[in-house]
């Protein structure tokens, strides 16, 4: 960057500010301000009719304790589902990313393309397809029933497993790709060196490959965990009333029941838990190299 900095194109002191101003002003108004109105709404009381609710700001912290006590189940469920889905993504994505990075040879770009391809189909339609696949009279349920893995009246649809499976499927690409990027950066000579020093395959995996892939694990986990904990589509399409997540409640309270303060408070809780979780997690893994 030092060489670039001394180039001739930055004599003007105001030019860069003029260039960033429109975007920053836009994001200021339509990204930052909304979080303040959300905060304000979360501390308001609502009156009026369901069709035209009126809000008045009242420092009503009771909305928060209400959100915690009423939706305790959903809060716990949301983060459990998101956590399990993130772990499943990690377990499933690692072998695939490893093979693309180290074993695919000249088919590397083709396989990468194949990994991305399914995500050109609308997320909702992919989830509807899972509804078909997991249906009670579908071949998966029949097959599992025949093998005896599922009791005769057992279902897959409308269970927690279906929701977690949907969450895993919908965001696994964001685990595969960062893992691939960090594995791809590993110098193969490091692995050869560990072998030359009589390390077993397992040891070179745990002592060389795994530590060097940590930035990918970190980025991938966040990219799966954050959208998964905010999702409500999978719980809506693949789950039942017993599998509702925070997103379902927020969506319903905002758009159907129109209890804006309660919904806003719950959104703030979701955001806060995610932020704290992300901070603890980044600190634990000891890297801030996210992007």
């Amino acid at each position: 960057m030092a060489g670039v900095a001394s180039s001739s194109r930055q004599r003007s002191k105001i030019a860069p500010y003029l260039m960033i101003l429109p975007a920053l002003a836009y994001l200021g108004v339509f990204f930052v301000v909304p979080f303040f109105t959300l905060l304000k709404t979360s501390l308001s009381t609502s009156g009026g009719s369901i069709y035209l609710p009126t809000l008045s700001f009242a420092w009503k912290f009771g909305n928060y304790s209400h959100a915690f006590s009423t939706y305790q189940d959903q809060i716990i469920r949301t983060f459990t589902y998101a956590l399990v889905a993130t772990l499943l993504c990690l377990v499933l994505a690692f072998p695939l990313a490893y093979v693309i990075a180290f074993k695919a040879g000249r088919y590397k770009n083709l396989i990468l393309g194949l990994v991305i391809l399914p995500f050109f189909v609308t997320f909702l339609i992919r989830t509807i397809a899972w509804k078909t696949i997991l249906a009670d009279d579908g071949w998966v349920v029949t097959a599992l029933g025949t093998v005896g893995l599922l009791p005769s009246e057992g279902r897959l649809l409308s269970t927690s497993w279906a929701v977690v499976g949907g969450l895993t499927y919908n965001w696994i690409i964001f685990m595969v790709l960062p893992l691939y990027v960090s594995l791809e950066k590993i110098d193969p000579r490091l692995i050869e060196a560990s072998k030359d020093l009589y390390s077993s395959n397992r040891r070179s995996f745990t002592k060389v490959i795994l530590p060097l892939s940590m930035p990918g694990v970190l980025a991938g986990s966040l990219l799966v965990f954050i959208p998964a904990s905010g999702d409500f589509i999978n719980a809506d399409y693949l789950g039942s009333t017993k599998t509702t997540m925070i997103g379902n409640v927020v969506q319903k309270q905002f758009l159907v029941v129109k209890d804006y303060p309660a919904a806003a408070a719950l959104s703030m809780v979701l955001m806060a838990i995610i932020l704290v979780g992300v901070m603890l997690y980044t600190r634990a893994l000891g890297t801030e190299d996210l992007v």
Binding site: I125, I128, A219, D231
Partner: protein, 286 residues
């Protein structure tokens, strides 16, 4: 796809192809197991896609296209049988085009300023751009809704546009910036040394260098907008975009035409992807 993860998709795909490296020395059977597992995971990614394509040829008897009833080409012959579906798709294409056009200008300007200029507060701007990509969509959608409620704006086409531009700007700025790193910027100095004025240099040297990156970012931003459901759901009022139509269909009736259009969009993306790759290869060869 969600906007959060898009930069990493771009990074993975855009990585310069290093020489194929293979790690040897693992036992044969271990290697085989690894490859089989990877293959199965890849297959898992495609299972719903196969189902979607297959069910675009289904002839459902009831309202829901969930169980196989028989093969037909009817759905493909009449992809726009339901005017509401066609209208929703048209509206989504419109929103994607207009929002991307605006976000590309705003986002690219930021990217150019970040890479080509030195100014106070640069790293703060860098950090600020990442934040929109870390907020869960449901919270951002809800937050925007509270703003519009506060302002008393009716939700509809304009609020959808506003929301889409907001999540596209960061994405485009980061994608274009990533693409611009590593360019040979001394070309600009060369142009100035040869007597070109700054604006001529910009249009003849800088812009041609960064245009491919901007086009790629715009295409992905278009795809993001077309696919966005969660944020749009909060700010749409009674306006129906393509994903919103699909969501309403799940509750009422799922016509096979949804699968037909999804398959068609997949094929079109595939063609665009292939054309883009070939075009880039050709440019590198020259």
């Amino acid at each position: 796809m969600t906007s959060q993860g898009m930069p990493v998709v771009v990074e993975a795909v855009e990585r310069p192809a290093t020489e194929p490296k293979t790690i040897k020395g693992s036992p044969r059977w271990g290697d085989l197991i690894l490859r089989v597992v990877a293959g199965l995971v890849l297959l898992y990614l495609f299972v719903p896609i196969f189902v979607i394509i297959l069910f675009s040829f289904n002839n459902p008897q009831g309202k829901f296209n969930y169980t196989w009833q028989g093969f037909t080409l009817n759905n493909w012959a009449h992809p726009f049988k339901y005017p509401a579906l066609a209208d929703a798709l048209k509206l989504s294409l419109n929103v994607a085009a207009v929002s991307t056009a605006i976000a590309v200008v705003l986002g690219s300007l930021v990217a150019i300023a970040l890479v080509r200029q030195r100014f106070r507060g640069q790293s703060a701007v860098d950090t600020f751009l990442v934040i929109p990509l870390t907020a869960p969509e449901v919270v951002f959608g809800a937050a925007l809704l509270t703003l519009f409620l506060d302002l008393g704006w009716a939700a509809g086409y304009v609020t959808i546009l506003i929301a889409h531009i907001a999540f596209e700007i960061s994405f485009i700025a980061m994608t274009v910036r990533a693409r611009m790193r590593g360019f040979d910027w001394t070309l600009e100095d060369a142009s100035m040394d040869l007597g070109a004025n700054p604006s001529r240099t910009f249009f003849k040297v800088t812009l041609p260098l960064i245009i491919p990156g901007i086009v790629a970012a715009a295409m992905l931003s278009f795809a993001l907008s077309l696919d966005d459901f969660i944020i749009t759901y909060f700010v749409s009022g009674s306006t129906v975009t393509y994903p919103l139509y699909v969501n309403a269909a799940v509750k009422a009736a799922v016509p096979p035409q949804i699968n037909v259009l999804a398959t068609a969009i997949l094929v079109i993306s595939l063609i665009l992807l292939a054309v883009g790759t070939l075009y880039r290869r050709k440019r590198i060869d020259v």
